[in-house]
Amino acid sequence: MFVTEWNSSALVKAATKAGKKKNALTPMTFSLLHATDFADRLLYKIIPPLKAGMIVVADRYAYTAFARDAVRGVDRQWVRDLYGFAVRPDLALYFRVPIDVSLDRLLARRVKLKFYEAGMDMGWSASPAESFRLFQSRVLEEYDHLVDEYGLTVVEAAGSITEQQKIVRRHVSALLEDAR
C-alpha cells in the first residue's frame, strides 16, 4: 500500500510556500500550482505503485481542486478539463461533515486557521473563523454536486472514528472482493 498526500511534491513546494507566505496567489495560480503538484505526484508516486499492483491511498484527490477552485471563481469546466490527465480512482470516499463540526475540530487542535484554508484571500470577512465558515460552506455545496457528478461514496464524518472506520472498511472490502 502507498499513501500520497495533497500538495506534497518537492517540486512545487517552494513556489506554493512562497506564494502562500506572501498571500500572493490568485485563484488561477492557486489552481495551477496544485495541479502541477498533482501531476508531479501522479507520475512519480501514484502511477508506479499502481503498475506494481499496489493499492494507492490518496489523502485528497482532484475533487478537492474541483470544489475549492470553483468557489474561488475559477471556471468549473476548465478545472475539470485541467485534470483530464488524472487517473479516475476505483473508490472515492467523501467524508461529509457539517460546517460547525469541522470548524470546532480545526479550532480544537490548532491555534490559528490558515489564510487560504479559511478563504481569507476572497476578502469576504476579516474574521478568520467567519471567513472559514463562509468559504467552507460554499466548498461543501460544491462537494454535494460532485457526489452525483463523480459518484463519490459519502461517509458521514460527524460520528465516531470507530463508526466511520467500520464503514470505510466495508466499502474497501467490497471493492477488493470485486477485484478478485
Binding site: 518537492a10 517540486l11 512545487v12 517552494a14 513556489a15 512562497a18 506564494g19 500572493a24 496567489l25 490568485t26 485563484p27 488561477m28 495560480t29 495551477l32 500550482l33 495541479a35 502541477t36 501531476a39 508531479d40 501522479l42 507520475l43 482532484a62 474561488r72 471563481g73 475559477v74 471556471d75 469546466q77 476548465w78 475539470r80 478539463d81 485541467l82 485534470y83 483530464g84 490527465f85 488524472a86 487517473v87 479516475r88
Partner: protein
C-alpha cells in the same frame, strides 16, 4: 477523467477576437473595454526577439506610448521554481507545461491585465505559443493544451520571427553555444547535442508553422538584417495603432 470533446470546445484558438479571452477566461476578472493593446513577439531561441523588442520599445516610447514588457518565466512567483526544476532535471512533460502555465497566469493577472487597463502597450517576449510548441513536440495532447490556455488573452498582434534551422544553428553557435533545454535533451533522442538541437528545433519550427494560420501570426523573415526587420515591425505596428485609434498621452501644448 477523460474530458469529452464538447467540454474542450472553448479553448485557445484563432476564432477569437483579439483582446478577448481565448476560452473560458478568468470568470472573476471580466474584460470590459480597456484602452491598452498587447503585442506578442514569438520565435525560436536565439532568433533575435529581445533585440527587436528593445528597439520597438524605444520607438514606441519616443512616439509617446506607455510600454510594459513581459517575458516568459519572468514571474517572481515561479521563476525560482522553474529554474530549480530545470537545473535538477526533475521536470516531466506535464509538470513542465503546468509550471509554465502558472508563470503565465501570474504575469497575466499581475502585469498584463493591469497594464492593459491602464492603457499601456504590452510587449510580450514570447507568448502562449512557445508553450504550445514545446508541449506539442513533447506529445502533450493538443486539445488539452488549448483548453488549458483558455484563460489567456488573444493578443492584438502576434509577430513570428521565422528562421530556418541552418541559420538558427550558426547564430546560436556564434552567440553562446547550445544548451540542454534548447537542444531538447530531455526528449532523449540521443547523446549528441548538435544532432539533438537540430532535430528538436526543426520540430519546434514545424509546430510554429502549423500554428501560424490558426493564430494569425504575422510572419517576419528573421534572416534579414536587424534594422530591416525592425522597419517592418514598426510599419505594421504603426498601421495597427493608427487604425485602432490607441491614444497617446496629450501632446505638449504648442509654444507661442
Amino acid at each position: 477523467m477523460t474530458p469529452t470533446q464538447d467540454a474542450l470546445a472553448p479553448g485557445a484558438n484563432g476564432g477569437i477576437q483579439a483582446g478577448r479571452y481565448y476560452g473560458r477566461g478568468l470568470p472573476y476578472l471580466p474584460l470590459d473595454d480597456y484602452p491598452g493593446r498587447i503585442i506578442a513577439i514569438e520565435g525560436s531561441d536565439g532568433v533575435g526577439r529581445s533585440t527587436q523588442i528593445r528597439l520597438l520599445r524605444q520607438w514606441l516610447e519616443v512616439k509617446g506610448y506607455g510600454v510594459v514588457e513581459t517575458g516568459w518565466t519572468r514571474s517572481p512567483l515561479m521563476q525560482p521554481t522553474i529554474d530549480l526544476a530545470k537545473s535538477s532535471n526533475t521536470l516531466n512533460k506535464l509538470t513542465f507545461v503546468l509550471l509554465y502555465a502558472t508563470d503565465f497566469a501570474d504575469r497575466l493577472e499581475k502585469e498584463i491585465i493591469p497594464a492593459l487597463k491602464a492603457g499601456f502597450i504590452v510587449l510580450s517576449d514570447r507568448y502562449i505559443f512557445t508553450a504550445l510548441a514545446r508541449a506539442g513536440v513533447r506529445g502533450v495532447d493538443r486539445p488539452w493544451l488549448r483548453n488549458l490556455y483558455g484563460f489567456a488573452i488573444a493578443p492584438h498582434l502576434v509577430f513570428y520571427l521565422k528562421i530556418d534551422v541552418e541559420s538558427l544553428i550558426s547564430r546560436v553557435l556564434q552567440a553562446r553555444g547550445m544548451d540542454f533545454w534548447e537542444s531538447g535533451m530531455d526528449l532523449k533522442l540521443g547523446d549528441d547535442i548538435y544532432d539533438n538541437f537540430r532535430a528538436y528545433q526543426s520540430r519546434l519550427l514545424r509546430e510554429y508553422t502549423s500554428m501560424a494560420d490558426e493564430f494569425h501570426f504575422r510572419v517576419l523573415d528573421a534572416r534579414r538584417p536587424i534594422d530591416r526587420i525592425q522597419e517592418d515591425l514598426r510599419q505594421q505596428v504603426d498601421t495597427f495603432l493608427t487604425q485602432s485609434d490607441v491614444s497617446t498621452p496629450a501632446p505638449e501644448p504648442a509654444r507661442t
